[in-house]
Protein backbone atom coordinates (compact mmCIF):
# COMPACT_ATOMS: atom_id res chain seq x y z
CA UNK A 1 0.00 0.00 0.00
CA UNK A 2 2.80 2.44 0.89
CA UNK A 3 3.69 4.74 -1.99
CA UNK A 4 0.90 3.32 -4.10
CA UNK A 5 -2.27 5.16 -5.08
CA UNK A 6 -4.05 1.93 -5.72
CA UNK A 7 -6.19 0.43 -3.07
CA UNK A 8 -7.24 -3.18 -3.22
CA UNK A 9 -10.85 -4.26 -3.07
CA UNK A 10 -10.54 -5.73 0.42
CA UNK A 11 -9.12 -2.55 1.93
CA UNK A 12 -11.63 -0.42 0.06
CA UNK A 13 -14.52 -2.40 1.55
CA UNK A 14 -12.96 -2.20 5.03
CA UNK A 15 -12.45 1.54 4.70
CA UNK A 16 -15.96 2.14 3.37
CA UNK A 17 -17.49 0.02 6.12
CA UNK A 18 -15.53 1.92 8.76
CA UNK A 19 -16.49 5.29 7.24
CA UNK A 20 -20.20 4.47 6.91
CA UNK A 21 -20.18 2.94 10.40
CA UNK A 22 -18.62 6.08 11.82
CA UNK A 23 -21.18 8.31 10.09
CA UNK A 24 -24.08 6.20 11.40
CA UNK A 25 -22.54 6.03 14.88
CA UNK A 26 -22.01 9.78 15.07
CA UNK A 27 -25.41 10.68 13.62
CA UNK A 28 -27.12 8.50 16.22
CA UNK A 29 -24.63 9.05 19.04
CA UNK A 30 -24.86 12.85 19.12
CA UNK A 31 -28.70 12.94 19.29
CA UNK A 32 -28.60 10.15 21.88
CA UNK A 33 -26.27 12.11 24.15
CA UNK A 34 -28.34 15.26 23.58
CA UNK A 35 -31.47 13.32 24.48
CA UNK A 36 -30.00 12.16 27.79
CA UNK A 37 -28.47 15.44 28.90
CA UNK A 38 -31.23 17.77 27.60
CA UNK A 39 -32.97 18.24 30.97
CA UNK A 40 -29.74 19.76 32.28
CA UNK A 41 -29.52 22.16 29.33
CA UNK A 42 -33.02 23.60 29.63
CA UNK A 43 -32.61 27.12 30.94
CA UNK A 44 -34.60 27.48 34.12
CA UNK A 45 -38.02 28.76 33.10
CA UNK A 46 -38.68 30.40 36.44
CA UNK A 47 -41.44 32.90 35.98
CA UNK A 48 -41.94 36.16 37.78
CA UNK A 49 -45.57 36.36 38.71
CA UNK A 50 -47.53 39.29 39.99
CA UNK A 51 -50.47 37.60 41.61
CA UNK A 52 -53.65 39.60 42.29
CA UNK A 53 -54.87 39.20 45.86
CA UNK A 54 -57.89 41.53 45.72
CA UNK A 55 -58.93 45.14 45.40
CA UNK A 56 -57.19 47.03 48.17
CA UNK A 57 -60.25 49.16 48.95
CA UNK A 58 -62.26 46.00 49.66
CA UNK A 59 -59.77 44.71 52.22
CA UNK A 60 -60.90 45.71 55.72
CA UNK A 61 -58.58 47.63 58.01
CA UNK A 62 -57.11 45.82 60.96
CA UNK A 63 -58.66 42.45 60.28
CA UNK A 64 -56.54 39.69 58.62
CA UNK A 65 -57.91 39.12 55.11
CA UNK A 66 -57.34 35.58 53.80
CA UNK A 67 -56.37 34.78 50.21
CA UNK A 68 -55.21 31.66 48.40
CA UNK A 69 -53.73 30.71 45.05
CA UNK A 70 -52.55 27.62 43.21
CA UNK A 71 -49.33 27.19 41.28
CA UNK A 72 -49.10 24.28 38.86
CA UNK A 73 -45.67 22.81 38.30
CA UNK A 74 -45.06 20.85 35.10
CA UNK A 75 -42.31 18.22 35.12
CA UNK A 76 -42.33 16.48 31.76
CA UNK A 77 -45.69 14.72 31.61
CA UNK A 78 -46.50 15.26 35.26
CA UNK A 79 -48.41 18.24 36.63
CA UNK A 80 -48.43 19.03 40.33
CA UNK A 81 -50.77 21.69 41.68
CA UNK A 82 -49.68 23.24 44.95
CA UNK A 83 -52.00 25.45 46.99
CA UNK A 84 -50.67 28.42 48.87
CA UNK A 85 -52.43 30.94 51.03
CA UNK A 86 -51.90 33.93 53.23
CA UNK A 87 -53.36 36.90 55.03
CA UNK A 88 -53.28 40.62 54.25
CA UNK A 89 -53.33 42.83 57.32
CA UNK A 90 -53.93 46.53 56.63
CA UNK A 91 -52.76 48.79 59.41
CA UNK A 92 -53.87 52.12 57.92
CA UNK A 93 -55.32 53.67 54.75
CA UNK A 94 -51.88 54.00 53.18
CA UNK A 95 -51.15 51.79 50.16
CA UNK A 96 -47.95 50.38 51.59
CA UNK A 97 -48.81 50.15 55.27
CA UNK A 98 -49.69 46.49 55.30
CA UNK A 99 -48.29 43.11 56.23
CA UNK A 100 -48.79 40.08 54.00
CA UNK A 101 -48.18 36.81 55.81
CA UNK A 102 -47.94 33.32 54.39
CA UNK A 103 -50.43 30.97 56.05
CA UNK A 104 -47.94 28.11 55.93
CA UNK A 105 -46.90 27.19 59.46
CA UNK A 106 -43.11 27.21 59.77
CA UNK A 107 -43.19 24.04 61.86
CA UNK A 108 -44.53 21.36 59.49
CA UNK A 109 -46.36 23.34 56.82
CA UNK A 110 -50.00 23.14 57.92
CA UNK A 111 -52.33 26.05 57.09
CA UNK A 112 -52.82 28.43 60.01
CA UNK A 113 -56.20 30.06 60.65
CA UNK A 114 -57.03 33.43 62.13
CA UNK A 115 -58.79 33.13 65.51
CA UNK A 116 -60.48 36.41 66.36
CA UNK A 117 -61.19 35.49 70.00
CA UNK A 118 -57.54 34.74 70.82
CA UNK A 119 -56.27 37.46 68.47
CA UNK A 120 -53.78 35.02 66.93
CA UNK A 121 -53.10 32.74 63.99
CA UNK A 122 -53.52 29.20 65.24
CA UNK A 123 -52.11 26.12 63.57
CA UNK A 124 -54.51 23.14 63.71
CA UNK A 125 -51.72 20.56 63.77
CA UNK A 126 -49.84 21.33 67.00
CA UNK A 127 -51.79 24.29 68.34
CA UNK A 128 -48.99 26.75 67.66
CA UNK A 129 -50.00 30.40 67.64
CA UNK A 130 -48.59 33.49 65.92
CA UNK A 131 -49.40 37.16 66.46
CA UNK A 132 -50.52 39.72 63.84
CA UNK A 133 -46.93 40.27 62.72
CA UNK A 134 -46.35 36.55 62.33
CA UNK A 135 -44.17 36.19 65.43
CA UNK A 136 -44.38 32.94 67.35
CA UNK A 137 -46.44 33.26 70.54
CA UNK A 138 -46.43 29.63 71.55
CA UNK A 139 -45.82 26.14 70.19
CA UNK A 140 -43.05 24.37 68.26
CA UNK A 141 -42.48 26.62 65.15
CA UNK A 142 -38.80 27.54 64.83
CA UNK A 143 -39.34 30.96 63.20
CA UNK A 144 -42.06 33.55 62.45
CA UNK A 145 -44.49 33.13 59.54
CA UNK A 146 -43.02 33.99 56.14
CA UNK A 147 -43.78 37.46 54.87
CA UNK A 148 -44.45 38.50 51.26
CA UNK A 149 -42.36 41.64 51.25
CA UNK A 150 -42.63 42.36 47.53
CA UNK A 151 -46.07 43.78 46.72
CA UNK A 152 -47.60 46.69 44.83
CA UNK A 153 -50.96 48.30 44.10
CA UNK A 154 -51.70 48.72 40.40
CA UNK A 155 -53.62 51.52 38.63
CA UNK A 156 -56.98 49.83 39.17
CA UNK A 157 -56.37 49.59 42.90
CA UNK A 158 -55.61 45.88 42.91
CA UNK A 159 -53.10 44.54 45.38
CA UNK A 160 -50.52 42.28 43.71
CA UNK A 161 -47.88 40.11 45.33
CA UNK A 162 -44.67 38.99 43.69
CA UNK A 163 -44.15 35.24 43.37
CA UNK A 164 -40.97 33.64 42.10
CA UNK A 165 -41.97 30.37 40.47
CA UNK A 166 -39.18 27.84 40.24
Amino acid sequence: MAGSHNINRRDFVKLTTAAVGTIIGVSIGIPAVGYLISPALVTSNSKDLWLPVGVLADIPLGKPFPFSFTITQVNGWERTANSYGGFVIRKSDADDDLTILSSRCTHLGCQVNWKEESNAFVCPCHDASFDREGNVISGPPPRPLDIYTDFKVDDEGKLLIHIQES
Binding site: I28, A32, Y35, L36, P39, W77
Partner: protein, 219 residues
Protein backbone atom coordinates in the same frame (compact mmCIF):
# COMPACT_ATOMS: atom_id res chain seq x y z
CA UNK B 1 1.87 1.83 22.10
CA UNK B 2 -1.54 0.83 20.69
CA UNK B 3 0.08 -2.06 18.93
CA UNK B 4 1.46 -3.30 22.25
CA UNK B 5 -1.93 -3.02 23.96
CA UNK B 6 -3.59 -4.78 21.04
CA UNK B 7 -1.03 -7.60 21.11
CA UNK B 8 -1.47 -8.02 24.86
CA UNK B 9 -5.25 -8.29 24.48
CA UNK B 10 -5.06 -10.47 21.35
CA UNK B 11 -2.79 -12.96 23.10
CA UNK B 12 -5.36 -13.39 25.89
CA UNK B 13 -8.65 -12.96 24.04
CA UNK B 14 -7.78 -14.36 20.62
CA UNK B 15 -9.20 -11.30 18.86
CA UNK B 16 -7.65 -12.28 15.51
CA UNK B 17 -9.35 -15.66 15.47
CA UNK B 18 -12.72 -14.13 16.44
CA UNK B 19 -12.33 -11.58 13.63
CA UNK B 20 -11.32 -14.27 11.12
CA UNK B 21 -14.21 -16.55 11.95
CA UNK B 22 -16.91 -13.86 12.07
CA UNK B 23 -16.03 -11.06 9.67
CA UNK B 24 -13.35 -12.60 7.47
CA UNK B 25 -14.81 -16.06 6.92
CA UNK B 26 -14.83 -17.51 3.40
CA UNK B 27 -18.04 -16.89 1.47
CA UNK B 28 -19.40 -18.34 -1.73
CA UNK B 29 -20.15 -15.93 -4.58
CA UNK B 30 -23.22 -13.99 -3.57
CA UNK B 31 -24.97 -10.72 -4.09
CA UNK B 32 -26.74 -8.00 -2.12
CA UNK B 33 -29.56 -10.37 -1.19
CA UNK B 34 -27.05 -12.16 1.06
CA UNK B 35 -26.68 -9.06 3.22
CA UNK B 36 -30.27 -9.03 4.53
CA UNK B 37 -29.39 -11.13 7.60
CA UNK B 38 -26.76 -8.58 8.62
CA UNK B 39 -29.28 -5.83 7.85
CA UNK B 40 -31.77 -7.51 10.22
CA UNK B 41 -29.10 -7.73 12.92
CA UNK B 42 -28.24 -4.05 12.42
CA UNK B 43 -31.91 -3.07 12.70
CA UNK B 44 -32.27 -5.17 15.86
CA UNK B 45 -29.34 -3.36 17.46
CA UNK B 46 -30.75 0.00 16.30
CA UNK B 47 -34.14 -0.86 17.80
CA UNK B 48 -32.46 -1.96 21.01
CA UNK B 49 -30.46 1.25 21.36
CA UNK B 50 -33.33 3.61 20.49
CA UNK B 51 -35.68 1.55 22.66
CA UNK B 52 -33.39 1.87 25.68
CA UNK B 53 -33.31 5.63 25.16
CA UNK B 54 -37.11 5.79 24.85
CA UNK B 55 -37.51 3.91 28.13
CA UNK B 56 -35.71 6.80 29.86
CA UNK B 57 -38.81 8.97 29.35
CA UNK B 58 -41.67 6.56 28.70
CA UNK B 59 -43.96 5.37 31.46
CA UNK B 60 -46.30 2.40 30.89
CA UNK B 61 -49.28 3.70 32.83
CA UNK B 62 -52.68 4.53 31.27
CA UNK B 63 -52.55 7.91 33.02
CA UNK B 64 -49.21 8.94 31.64
CA UNK B 65 -48.24 6.75 28.66
CA UNK B 66 -49.72 9.12 26.06
CA UNK B 67 -48.47 12.26 27.81
CA UNK B 68 -44.99 10.85 28.26
CA UNK B 69 -44.77 10.22 24.52
CA UNK B 70 -45.99 13.76 23.84
CA UNK B 71 -43.17 14.87 26.13
CA UNK B 72 -40.64 12.76 24.21
CA UNK B 73 -41.86 14.27 20.93
CA UNK B 74 -41.88 17.92 22.00
CA UNK B 75 -40.03 18.33 25.30
CA UNK B 76 -36.78 16.38 24.93
CA UNK B 77 -33.94 17.22 22.55
CA UNK B 78 -33.93 14.77 19.63
CA UNK B 79 -36.82 12.87 21.23
CA UNK B 80 -38.69 13.06 17.91
CA UNK B 81 -35.67 11.56 16.15
CA UNK B 82 -35.16 8.69 18.62
CA UNK B 83 -38.85 7.80 18.52
CA UNK B 84 -39.01 8.28 14.74
CA UNK B 85 -36.12 5.84 14.25
CA UNK B 86 -37.74 3.33 16.61
CA UNK B 87 -41.14 3.71 14.90
CA UNK B 88 -39.92 3.34 11.31
CA UNK B 89 -37.18 0.89 12.25
CA UNK B 90 -39.84 -1.45 13.63
CA UNK B 91 -41.72 -1.60 10.32
CA UNK B 92 -38.45 -1.88 8.41
CA UNK B 93 -37.23 -4.72 10.62
CA UNK B 94 -40.35 -6.83 10.01
CA UNK B 95 -39.97 -6.14 6.28
CA UNK B 96 -36.24 -6.93 6.12
CA UNK B 97 -36.59 -10.10 8.22
CA UNK B 98 -39.39 -11.27 5.94
CA UNK B 99 -37.47 -10.57 2.73
CA UNK B 100 -34.43 -12.29 4.27
CA UNK B 101 -36.57 -15.36 4.88
CA UNK B 102 -37.92 -15.19 1.35
CA UNK B 103 -34.37 -15.09 -0.04
CA UNK B 104 -33.38 -18.13 2.02
CA UNK B 105 -36.45 -19.94 0.73
CA UNK B 106 -35.88 -19.02 -2.94
CA UNK B 107 -32.20 -19.99 -2.91
CA UNK B 108 -33.07 -23.21 -1.02
CA UNK B 109 -30.56 -22.33 1.70
CA UNK B 110 -32.69 -24.01 4.36
CA UNK B 111 -31.65 -27.53 3.26
CA UNK B 112 -29.19 -29.89 4.95
CA UNK B 113 -27.20 -29.03 7.08
CA UNK B 114 -28.98 -25.73 7.69
CA UNK B 115 -32.47 -26.92 8.70
CA UNK B 116 -31.94 -25.82 12.30
CA UNK B 117 -30.80 -22.37 11.16
CA UNK B 118 -34.09 -22.13 9.26
CA UNK B 119 -36.15 -23.30 12.24
CA UNK B 120 -34.47 -20.82 14.58
CA UNK B 121 -35.05 -18.19 11.88
CA UNK B 122 -38.79 -18.94 11.88
CA UNK B 123 -38.71 -18.36 15.64
CA UNK B 124 -36.91 -15.05 15.04
CA UNK B 125 -39.57 -13.95 12.55
CA UNK B 126 -42.35 -14.77 15.03
CA UNK B 127 -40.66 -12.96 17.90
CA UNK B 128 -40.04 -9.96 15.63
CA UNK B 129 -43.75 -9.85 14.75
CA UNK B 130 -44.67 -10.14 18.45
CA UNK B 131 -42.29 -7.27 19.17
CA UNK B 132 -44.22 -5.21 16.63
CA UNK B 133 -47.55 -6.26 18.12
CA UNK B 134 -46.62 -5.45 21.73
CA UNK B 135 -44.87 -2.21 20.79
CA UNK B 136 -47.94 -1.00 18.92
CA UNK B 137 -49.99 -0.74 22.13
CA UNK B 138 -47.45 1.33 24.06
CA UNK B 139 -48.37 4.80 22.65
CA UNK B 140 -51.79 4.17 24.26
CA UNK B 141 -53.72 6.18 21.68
CA UNK B 142 -57.01 5.20 20.02
CA UNK B 143 -55.32 3.30 17.21
CA UNK B 144 -53.14 1.35 19.63
CA UNK B 145 -56.03 0.56 21.96
CA UNK B 146 -58.38 -0.75 19.27
CA UNK B 147 -55.66 -2.57 17.33
CA UNK B 148 -54.80 -4.47 20.50
CA UNK B 149 -58.48 -5.06 21.28
CA UNK B 150 -58.93 -6.65 17.86
CA UNK B 151 -55.56 -8.45 17.92
CA UNK B 152 -56.18 -10.08 21.28
CA UNK B 153 -59.74 -10.98 20.21
CA UNK B 154 -58.32 -12.80 17.20
CA UNK B 155 -56.00 -14.73 19.53
CA UNK B 156 -59.06 -15.39 21.70
CA UNK B 157 -60.94 -17.00 18.82
CA UNK B 158 -58.79 -20.14 19.08
CA UNK B 159 -61.12 -23.12 19.77
CA UNK B 160 -61.27 -24.30 23.39
CA UNK B 161 -58.18 -22.46 24.68
CA UNK B 162 -59.27 -19.09 23.24
CA UNK B 163 -60.64 -17.56 26.42
CA UNK B 164 -57.55 -18.65 28.35
CA UNK B 165 -55.19 -17.14 25.75
CA UNK B 166 -57.17 -13.89 25.70
CA UNK B 167 -56.96 -13.55 29.47
CA UNK B 168 -53.25 -14.32 29.54
CA UNK B 169 -52.57 -11.73 26.83
CA UNK B 170 -54.73 -9.04 28.44
CA UNK B 171 -53.98 -9.86 32.07
CA UNK B 172 -57.72 -10.19 32.62
CA UNK B 173 -60.86 -10.22 30.54
CA UNK B 174 -60.71 -6.59 29.46
CA UNK B 175 -57.99 -4.39 28.03
CA UNK B 176 -56.64 -2.41 30.98
CA UNK B 177 -53.62 -1.03 32.77
CA UNK B 178 -52.61 -4.66 33.31
CA UNK B 179 -52.51 -5.21 29.54
CA UNK B 180 -50.32 -2.16 29.03
CA UNK B 181 -47.92 -3.23 31.77
CA UNK B 182 -47.83 -6.79 30.41
CA UNK B 183 -47.15 -5.68 26.85
CA UNK B 184 -44.45 -3.32 28.12
CA UNK B 185 -42.73 -6.11 30.05
CA UNK B 186 -42.98 -8.39 27.02
CA UNK B 187 -41.71 -5.66 24.70
CA UNK B 188 -38.65 -4.61 26.68
CA UNK B 189 -37.70 -7.76 28.64
CA UNK B 190 -39.24 -11.07 27.65
CA UNK B 191 -39.22 -10.85 23.85
CA UNK B 192 -35.81 -9.14 23.55
CA UNK B 193 -34.30 -11.82 25.82
CA UNK B 194 -35.72 -14.54 23.57
CA UNK B 195 -34.61 -12.62 20.50
CA UNK B 196 -31.03 -12.26 21.75
CA UNK B 197 -30.83 -15.97 22.61
CA UNK B 198 -32.19 -17.03 19.22
CA UNK B 199 -29.90 -14.59 17.38
CA UNK B 200 -26.96 -16.12 19.22
CA UNK B 201 -27.88 -19.62 18.08
CA UNK B 202 -28.64 -18.38 14.55
CA UNK B 203 -25.25 -16.65 14.23
CA UNK B 204 -23.38 -19.62 15.68
CA UNK B 205 -25.02 -21.90 13.12
CA UNK B 206 -24.23 -19.53 10.25
CA UNK B 207 -20.59 -19.29 11.30
CA UNK B 208 -20.40 -23.07 11.78
CA UNK B 209 -21.90 -24.03 8.41
CA UNK B 210 -20.95 -20.98 6.36
CA UNK B 211 -23.29 -19.47 3.81
CA UNK B 212 -24.87 -21.75 1.25
CA UNK B 213 -23.90 -21.78 -2.41
CA UNK B 214 -26.62 -20.53 -4.73
CA UNK B 215 -28.08 -23.50 -6.62
CA UNK B 216 -27.19 -23.70 -10.33
CA UNK B 217 -28.72 -25.49 -13.33
CA UNK B 218 -27.58 -28.93 -12.18
CA UNK B 219 -29.28 -28.66 -8.78
Amino acid sequence: MWKKIYEWLDERLGLKSIYDSTLDRPEPRGNWWNTLGSASLFLFILQGVTGIFLSVNYTPSPDHAYDSIQYIMTGVSFGWLIRGIHHWGASLMVLVVFIHMLRVFITASYKYPRELTWLVGVGLLLVTVFMGFTGYLLPWNQKAFWATTVGTQIAGSVPLAGDFILKVLRGGSSLSALTLQRFFAAHIWILPAILVALIGVHLYLIIKHGESQFPDKED
